[in-house]
Amino acid sequence: MAVKVLILVGTKKGAFILESGAERQSWRLRGPFCETWPMNHVIADAASGAIYGGGGNAWFGPAVWKSTDLGATWTHSSAGLAYAAGEEPIKAVWSLAPGAGTLYAGVEPAGLFRSDDAGQSWRHIAGLRDHPSRPHWQPGGGGLILHSLVLHPSDPRQLWVAISTAGVFHSADRGETWEARNQGTRADYLPEGQRYPDYGQCVHCLVMAAGKPDRLYQQNHCGMYRSEDGGRHWHSIEAGLPSTFGFPAATHPRDPDSLYLLPLNGDTAGRYVPDAQAAVWRTRDGGAHWEALRRGLPQQNAFFGVLRQAMATDRLAPAGAYFGTSTGALFASADEGDSWSCIAQHLPAILSVETLVAEA
C-alpha cells in the first residue's frame, strides 16, 4: 500500500506540515497553520487520522487546534480547559497524547486534562494537582509545564507525566491518584546531600521503549536515564555521551534498545550543540554504548539547540528520524539516523516535531 509521511512541526509562529512519499527524499512544506499561534506540540492520532495542535497565544490564551483533513482546515477549542476561578489561569497547552478514545493534554501551569469527544471539550484530571508535592513544584526556564505524556499501550488505566520542575509521576487509575517516580535521578542544583529527592527533578523529556512498557528513558536537566520498572528506579546511561544536558529523546518504532538523544553543551554554556558541531547520538543497546551520527549535519558554526519535543521517528522500515532546531531548521534521516539532510530552514523556532504515516 502506498503511504505518505507527514512531519508535524510546532513552532513559535504556527504549525507547519511537511509531506513526502515512503522514500522520504523530497518534501513539500505547508503552513503556517493555527493563525500563527505558538504551537508547543502538534501530533497525529494514528487511529483517526486527526491532527491536533496544543498551544497558547499571548492575547487569546490556551487552546487545542484540530484538523481532520491533514491540515487543510482547522478548528480550535478550549471548552473546559480551565482551572477553578481564582486559581492561576492556564497559559498554554504543552503536550498532547491520544489514547484509547481519550485525548490527554498537559498544560502550563502544570496540570492534566482529558477529552473524550476528540478535542471538543475538556475535563480537568484534578488528582495530579492534588498530589502532596504540588506546593513544591517550581517553574523551570520554560515555565511550570507538563511537557511529556506517556500512555501505557495496552492498559488505559496507566499513564506517566513529566513536569518541569517536579519530576516524573505515574498513575495506575486513570489519573485519580499519582506516585512520584524519580528514584535515581539527580538534581545537581540542590545542595550536596539533597540531590536525589523524591520529587523536584528537572526532567526534560520522557519516552517509552517500543514493545516494553516498563522500559522508560528520560533526558533530564542533569543526565540521561533508563528505567526497567516503569520509572520506580532510574539508572544513568550518560557514560559515553558528550554532556549530561539536553532536551529531546526519541525511541525507535520497533527496537526497545534503540534511543536517539541530542546532547547540548551544558545548561550554563549556551545550550547549543557541543563544539558547534551537530550530532544525534544513538544507542542500540539501551544506553550502554553510544555513537555520534554526524553525516549530513553541520560540523562547524552550528549554534543551535533542539528543544524537548523537537525530535521524533516515524514507523517505516528503515525508520525515519527527524529533529528541528531553535533556529528554524528541520533535519531528516530516512536511514535510522545514519545520514541526514536539511529539509527546511528559516522556519520560526521549532518547538515540536512529530510524524504521521498515512495512506497515500
Binding site: 492575547w59 490564551g61 487552546a63 480551565a82
Partner: protein, 96 residues
Amino acid sequence: MANERSPSAAVVVTLPAALVRLFPGCARRVELSAATVGEAIDALEWRWPGMRDRVCDSTPRVRRHINVFVAGKRASLETRLPPGVEVMIMTAISGG
C-alpha cells in the same frame, strides 16, 4: 459578572481582526444588548461559542493582553454600559 438588576441596552461592540479570524462568520462590528461588559461578552459567547475563553481568562477577568474600552476608557467586566455606547475589544501590545 453580569448585573441582573441593570436593564440591558443596545450597544455596539467592535472586535479585533485577530479574534474575528478565529470564528467563521463573525463580523468586526456587532450590535447586541448588554448592561455590562461581562454581559456583552456573554452575548458574544452565545453567538460564537468559545469566544469568552479568547477574551477572558478563568480568574475570571479580561485577559492580560486584551483591552476593553467603553466610550474610550479602559473597562473591566463590571463596567456598566449606557445605551448606544461603543465597546471596543482590542489586542494589546504583546508577543515577540
